[in-house]
């Protein structure tokens, strides 16, 4: 009897020690994360101060941007913040002031697509850049010409609206386009098969289903984390991805800094 009592007491003691141990670990974990939060907060304050200096024009090197290097800019906005249309319009007005002509707006759930008309109305002179989906080959030439004309237009700002369905689902639709080609001619002929399943054919197929916009040079993420949230994979091969913080705390200085840093980047493209 004594023996079983003893073992019960031992068991209870070890359980309590384990509980204390776990509590200690939990406290340490919270402590470590509090320190990290404080570090990040301090960094944020430093960034805000720097942004004010940049906005006021005191930092000389940000005064002249080689904006021509930025041919196509994409902005990823967290879906909950995408409802803040006035903030988005303000951001686009800043971009227009800097000289950015072609912008692609992305949010996962397509909320920006729904606010498209409101945004276009409130942005002077902006035009909607739409990649039309088409099935007749004769329209290929027209669409390409249209796209080139719109992108060469330096007078007006063009806005493209993209959502999650233009990513993976569009690739599935494009796969069906290629499957039709394959079933009509490529099955028995190895040469034909090699001609159908190429990356350029895939790009054409994506254009066919209406998801073939240009590849952005720079992608700015407005949200809690540096994450592209499903921006169409085919278009971000060599895109510089920069985290700007939440939309509610956006500022002009950090926008300039991000664009400036982009213009300073040199890519090897694998070579």
């Amino acid at each position: 009897m004594d023996f079983s009592n003893e073992s019960r007491v031992l068991h209870r003691c070890s359980a309590q020690v384990l509980d204390i141990g776990n509590l200690l670990l939990l406290s340490l974990w919270h402590l470590v994360h509090s320190i990290i939060s404080i570090c990040n907060f301090t960094l944020d304050i430093a960034n805000v101060l720097e942004s004010y200096l940049i906005s006021s024009g005191l930092l000389g090197r940000y005064k002249s941007l080689h904006i021509a290097k930025l041919r196509y800019l994409a902005i990823v906005i967290e879906s909950e913040e995408a409802y803040q249309t006035s903030k988005i319009i303000e951001l686009l007005q800043w971009l227009e002031a800097v000289g950015v002509k072609h912008v692609c707006l992305y949010d996962k759930e397509g909320i920006l697509k729904k606010s498209k008309d409101f945004i276009l109305e409130n942005l002077d002179g902006a035009i909607w850049f739409q990649v039309l989906s088409y099935w007749q080959p004769s329209i290929y030439a027209m669409q390409d010409a249209h796209e080139n004309n719109v992108l060469l237009d330096q007078q007006h700002m063009t806005l493209e609206f993209v959502s999650f369905s233009d990513g993976k689902e569009a690739v599935a639709k494009a796969a069906n386009v290629l499957f039709m080609k394959y079933s009509k001619s490529g099955v028995t002929d190895q040469n034909q098969k090699e001609k159908i399943f190429t990356e350029s054919q895939m790009s054409e197929a994506l254009k066919t289903v209406g998801s073939g916009g240009p590849e952005p040079d720079l992608l700015l993420v407005y949200g809690p984390a540096r994450c592209h949230l499903g921006f169409p994979a085919w278009r971000i091969k060599y895109t510089e991805i920069v985290h700007m913080g939440p939309l509610k705390s956006m500022n002009y200085g950090s926008l300039i800094k991000a664009i400036y840093k982009f213009t300073m980047v040199r890519q090897n493209y694998g070579k």
Partner: protein, 289 residues
């Protein structure tokens, strides 16, 4: 004197190891990433910076990789993926490509040895990419490594060679098309096809949905691993360079400014801490997809 020095180094090593274990113990209270991917950028820049012989940067980079793998597996990360060689890298000078292939061959043999990290942590090695583009000795060594480690089940190491995301997507689409065609042919030959071979029997609407997203995803080179939780690209570059574009929709992208051969415990720790801070948000995004 020499013995005392060795002893001191040994004690220091043990203390560092103990400290790392304690830190892992504390961190494992929070979410542990299931899959971490690495873009090993900066080997050539390191060689230039330290004025070393050509190829030395890559060799030191390999030891850095071994350390990072050790941290990952000790912490409990089940899947690790590394971007070893891109299809675009074939455009480099033939001498450089050859020396990288030789290094790869040498290291594949090394990791299959008894005391290597692969056997210590029960790691299954998978080579993801268009392996047909590799030279025969490298391809055979890769296939041997995959076979030798096929039974390991504690962790997975995906080495991306001759890989680009767009090539992966293209390949998956091609495989899906061929599979769908075979399916239709089979149905047709068993009499249940109703002339499907000419696809005349399908409505336009149905033809748009013959190949589904799930068909494409199961043919990806990276289908054996879940989507990554963190992608770490060294040398401060902020692009993905055609790596895991399809799988990184809800993935935390971290770009420390150190060059790959210089990466260490500090960067690993920082990546995990930041991941744990935003895990709730990324998990929510993942569930909404």
């Amino acid at each position: 004197m020499e013995r005392i020095r060795e002893r001191v180094i040994q004690i220091y090593g043990n203390l560092v190891s103990l400290l790392q274990k304690c830190i892992f113990c504390i961190l494992s209270v929070g979410p542990i990433p299931n899959h971490i991917a690495f873009i090993m950028d900066g080997n050539r820049r390191f060689t230039k910076k330290c004025k070393l012989m050509e190829g030395a940067g890559h060799k030191i980079g390999f030891s850095a990789l071994m350390s990072m793998l050790k941290y990952c597996y000790e912490f409990g990360v089940r899947y690790v993926t590394v971007y070893a060689f891109s299809i675009e890298n074939f455009k480099r000078s033939p001498e450089e490509v050859q020396s990288l292939m030789d290094l790869m061959l040498e290291k594949i043999e090394e990791i299959l040895k008894e005391q290597s990290i692969v056997n210590r942590y029960g790691v299954r090695v998978i080579f993801s990419g268009n392996l047909k583009l590799l030279s025969e000795p490298v391809r055979l060594a890769a296939e041997r490594a995959m076979l030798a480690t096929a039974k390991n089940s504690k962790a997975v190491l995906s080495i991306c060679v001759a890989y680009t995301s767009t090539n992966e997507i293209m390949h998956a689409v091609q495989e899906s098309c061929e599979e769908k065609w075979d399916e239709i042919t089979l149905l047709n030959s068993s009499g249940a096809g109703y002339g499907l071979i000419s696809l005349g029997g399908y409505e336009q609407d149905e033809m748009d949905h013959l190949i589904k997203l799930t068909d494409i995803e199961k043919h990806m080179y990276m289908a054996a691993a879940p989507d990554p939780d963190i992608i770490i690209r060294t040398s401060g570059e902020t692009r993905l360079s055609n790596f895991l574009l399809w799988q990184s929709a809800n993935c935390y992208l971290y770009s420390p400014s150190v060059l790959w051969p210089e990466i260490g415990f500090r960067q690993f720790l920082w990546a995990i801490l930041n991941f744990q801070q935003i895990h709730f948000y990324l998990d929510k995004q993942r569930k909404q997809s």
